[in-house]
Amino acid sequence: MTKLTNLTIADALTGLSKGDFSAVELTSAHLDAMAAKRSLNAYITETPELALEQAKESDARRAAGRAGALDGIPLGIKDLFATKDVLTTAASHILDGFKPQYESTVSQKLKDAGSVMLGKLNLDEFAMGSSNTTSYHGNVVNPWKSKSDPAKQLVPGGSSGGSGAAVAARIAMGATGTDTGGSIRQPAAFCGVTGIKPTYGRCSRWGIVAFASSLDQAGPMARTVKDCALMLNVMAGHDPKDSTSAPIAVPDFAAALTGDIRGLKVGIPKEYRPDGLSDEVNKVWEQGIEWLKAAGATPVEITLPHTKYALPTYYIVAPAEASSNLARYDGVRFGLRVKGDSLDDMYKKTRAAGFGAEVRRRIMIGTYVLSAGYYDAYYTKAQKVRRLIAEDFKKAFETVDVILTPTAPSAAFGIGDNTDDPVTMWLNDVFTIPTSLAGLPGLSLPAGLSADGLPMGLQLIGRPFDEETVFKVAGVMESAAGFTATPAGVAGNETNAGSARGGV
């Protein structure tokens, strides 16, 4: 029998329902694996007791014939979701000791569906980062090793780096992520897993520590397209507690995986070939286009002329919103307080000690672009360009059904690389940010391996609230890609193992 930790969620649900194993066994297997892989630093907080208790309850429910959609499935929760009575840090020092007295809507829905929480997953501080190197609780290590330098520690991507690493390393069957500018898709690509940022408004933001409210979206990360669909079925839905939550019914995303994409038009944006794009990534992209053609879809070259401006737009809008969203971390009601002589002194010392360098930098940029005299030149301008970017997509979707792009310009890089200049680091999100600004659904799936043996992802972008088409096309690509490779330590191996049809 396959190791329990190697099962997909879909297969685990079948196994549980057939009684092949219990939720307690499944959870225990994951808890053991977690203990063995602490060096990845994927979890900030492990909750083994809670997990076993939930697993027991799950088995009881199943025995009573009341199993939910994800009953008994052990998941990791990104530590940006408030979880009642469980430490919630946003990977920041400033939330020291914070135990929310409430549960986020998305994690509550997952609980209600019977899933088991293994713990809280590491991330970039306040989800600000693309490499999971800004966490107060330390870097997350990508379980994948480069062939040329197996000793080198690679980044898992970010900000949902803990989620990506945990799913790839088989220490969670699936995980929640959040995506503001690529924080689900880019780590999914770097870790060789699948993740989807649904349409803005599809999942409730209630109870998720806010980074940039007009961009933040929760989504699932798992090892297959179907697993993501199963998780999103549970996570999505209108929430009256979030005024930006869409009052739109949730279809059965898993049912969309028909395998039939004949006649679909797939947009290939010509602007997605910037200078820094690696040849390997470009090759996987070409490969992806071929797979879709072979399945009966038609590639169509499209133009998204304002693509180039997405990054600067994002780096005005997101910090502006963040500077305001993070004002509540002031040492008064929760988290860290550093003593000061006066109220202002206390604020300044607390926030200087509580926020890491990247967060402080973004708060300051955000503060500046909103300040008197600069608001119009920066913030208003960015909002106007944002509309142009959204309109680019709208126009494109008049002729195509889905858009295919690379997820990130390269495969995972080493921890400590790309850190000298913040702007260079931001280029990781060049393909994911436009989608975020336009609020569209975007899915990343592993499509191949680089020469160095590292996974590379492709991104599928859909129309607003048309995750079904995205899933359908992703399902076809997943079959074509045949990505069976696993990172080091999964198949008892010390290095990566297996293969993929895509790549070199």
Binding site: Q101, Y315, K384
Partner: protein, 99 residues
């Protein structure tokens, strides 16, 4: 835009983040680099384009005027550093403010 030390200090003041004098130059350099990067937006023609604050294609939903929240001072104060606990009044505290 190249930011000077005074501007950086003012931003830090507005954001209530303590910045040491010896950090100012480095920070000014970083922030200036970022601003220079984002300023490429100036080349985009946005005449007649309305700013887009949200992609959500709905208007603001409203709730009914019913009381269905609050009444849990203990939970509200549970995480507070240096709070006056409920049995002694139930307050958050801050260093004394002189108005």
């Amino acid at each position: 835009m190249s930011l000077d030390r005074t501007t950086v200090r003012n931003i830090a003041e507005l954001a209530r983040i303590e910045v040491r004098d010896d950090e100012l130059d480095h920070l000014a350099g970083e922030l200036s680099g970022i601003l220079t990067f984002v300023e490429q937006l100036a080349e985009v023609n946005t005449d007649g384009i309305a700013p887009m604050a949200s992609v959500a294609d709905i208007t603001l939903p409203m709730r009914q005027d019913v009381i269905n929240d609050g009444g849990y001072a203990e939970a509200v104060l549970a995480n507070a550093p240096d709070a006056v606990r409920e049995d002694e009044g139930g307050f958050f505290t801050v260093p004394k403010v002189v108005e």
